[in-house]
Symmetry: C2
DNA sequence: GTTAGCACTCATCTCTTGAGAGTGCTAATA
DNA sequence: TATTAGCACTCTCAAGAGATGAGTGCTAAC
């Protein structure tokens, strides 16, 4: 158990390091008003904190920097909640002032503002399309042997896929098919669609449609293909401005990682409400060992969820980011729900 | 007019610099088989070439590097065409082996392979949606006061927009409206759509639809909003591996630029067939002064065009990139046309 | 328990030095 | 007359030597 004085010194050390990016020395700390101790006392306490694993030195005679354990403790126990500044609030509200009507526009703009406000990189995961429900099917033939299948979901999202038409299929076949689909599959979750198609609708289709087999193999494949969550970035280059990434090697690693969409999902915790913080190597990705990720989630209506993440150096302004993320995620939820419900 | 010996020396100098990234010295050049002259002779010629503006020195006693004028001359007069290596051809064909059915998939994969093969960054501009023609309209109401408008184009592309419904609009109003749109506006280019709607269709709509004014203002705005060309990147981080961008300042500038989609279009020449090369400051963007951009274009069917660009350092392997871009653009055209025509 | 004082450590900056690569010029050469 | 050898000179780069300064640990005094 840490003494009050140790808590104080740990907190002030982390705060100072977060803002200066320089190892914190005892002399420097003792100059601060909040710390009414002499450098020698502070040195003793710091030595203890180092022994306990909360602080580190970069070399034998340097000041101290927080270890991962130190950040973790800071985040868990020393992070006093804070209200967003009115300046920040103004900026945040500006996103929603425009009354945009497209979900994607709103999310994109949110990503941008978040990265502007924090000076870190933001990642927003769009709502998981697979949880949307079918509202309407439509099939539009393009040529003799290809057509585009369109699925409109209850949230106004539109999925579309090209697929091959078997030869000899008539226009009335297609019309029948669309009718059957619209009768049978409305309200089905997108991720259950392929399953539902095979299980519940195929018999009916088989009855009414010529060339059933070929049609189903190509149409089925089309609606099966993965509907991935869309990833929105804000301020990809922002990270490069922080001193910890002045090492080209690291900078490259990060940029490369962000270009590989499949790696991104590992940064997010499985959809949980609330704010989560992963520090340094708590992110399993090697490139991220000097980064922390703070995630939050937003909702559209009751069910659909998306995620927000801020990526910054481990030496990140946790307090500020947590505050902003908190405000932003609830504002975004409200706005997107408004769009969906059409109550604006 | 340059002598043959000057031409030779310029060519070998540029070639060498492109591959080593080091200033080229006279001694080094004279060791090459192609250059049967002594270092002293080469020094004299190089001095002349420098006077003429084709070569530069990084400092008084360094070897020479090509100037922008030097690269320009090299590209215009010394670039002998080359066949793609069979290795490269194999890789390129692998993109099209899979018989993908989605245009975007093919373009994305092309971007990736191009950047892998060249080790530079590739940018592909999707086909200009505004030149597509309307194939079908559809309107799906979501809530009491919002609906999604869907436009399917002749190339199988699907545009969709949310818009507000005026209160009191009936389902049959919407049905009528969709019918009128489909009767009047099929075949219209997307960029003329708004204009055509106002000019040719509005009278008819006004006649049949209640609450015409409100409906038109929100529907009109929805289909007016810009349909931008989609930008696909391949290997954004590839550029960072070249020594000219080991300067963090420059690296940051480039990454930032690539994140600002609006700047990207300035890199492309207005849609022209053939291959175009812009060297260094010929690109108006300041961040690009150390970069060259090589662009090509591809076609889908007869009309629709998109663009391909490779961004690399001015010290870029022009010969190789031109060759690859040439092959890739025609292969891509063929593949996309196949998808559109459905003849596969 | 706290603090002042002191010896010690290490990173960083600057200055110097030497090696190496390359040039320009002049004089010799084919 | 065009080419080349030779040489003095220039500049970069890397390594090494102090000097400086921020910071520590330890001991003894308060």
């Amino acid at each position: 158990m840490l003494t009050n004085r140790q808590l104080l010194i740990l907190q002030v050390t982390v705060d100072d390091f977060i803002h200066t990016a320089q190892p914190v020395g005892s002399r420097q700390l003792s100059k601060k008003e909040e710390v009414p101790y002499s450098p020698a006392t502070i040195r003793n306490e710091m030595a203890d904190l180092e022994e306990l694993g909360y602080l580190e030195k970069t070399h034998t005679s340097s000041g101290r920097i927080p270890s991962e354990k130190g950040y973790r403790f800071y985040v868990d126990h020393l992070l006093t909640p804070q209200l967003a500044s009115s300046d920040d609030m103004l900026q945040i509200q500006s996103v929603f002032k425009e009354r945009m009507v497209e979900t994607e526009q709103v999310i994109q703009k949110t990503a941008m503002i978040l990265s502007e406000l924090t000076s870190y990189t933001s990642i927003l995961l769009g709502p998981d399309v697979r949880k949307h429900r079918v509202k309407r099917f439509s099939i539009v033939p393009l040529t003799n042997d290809s057509a585009v299948a369109i699925i409109i979901t209850d949230s106004g999202h539109v999925e579309n896929r090209l697929f091959q038409l078997p030869k000899g299929l008539t226009a009335s076949d297609i019309e029948k098919m669309v009718n059957i689909l619209n009768e049978q599959l409305i309200g089905v979750h997108l991720h259950e669609l392929h399953h539902a198609l095979e299980k519940e609708t195929s018999a009916l289709l088989k009855q009414h449609i010529g060339r059933y087999g070929e049609l189903m193999s190509s149409f089925g494949a089309a609606i099966l293909s993965p509907q991935e969550e869309k990833v929105f970035y804000g301020g990809k280059s922002k990270l490069l401005h922080h001193p910890e990434f002045s090492d080209l090697q690291k900078a490259r690693g990060l940029i490369t990682m962000m270009d590989q969409a499949n790696q991104i999902s590992t940064l997010f915790s499985p959809n949980q409400a609330g704010i989560h913080i992963r520090i340094g190597s708590e992110n399993t990705l090697l490139e991220m060992e000097d980064c922390s990720v703070i995630t939050a989630s937003y909702t559209i209506g009751e069910e659909q969820m998306g995620s927000i993440a801020i990526i910054g150096p481990t030496r990140m302004d946790y307090r500020r980011v947590v505050t902003l993320l908190d405000v932003m995620s609830s504002d975004l939820s409200r706005e997107l729900t408004r769009i969906l419900r059409g109550s604006g």
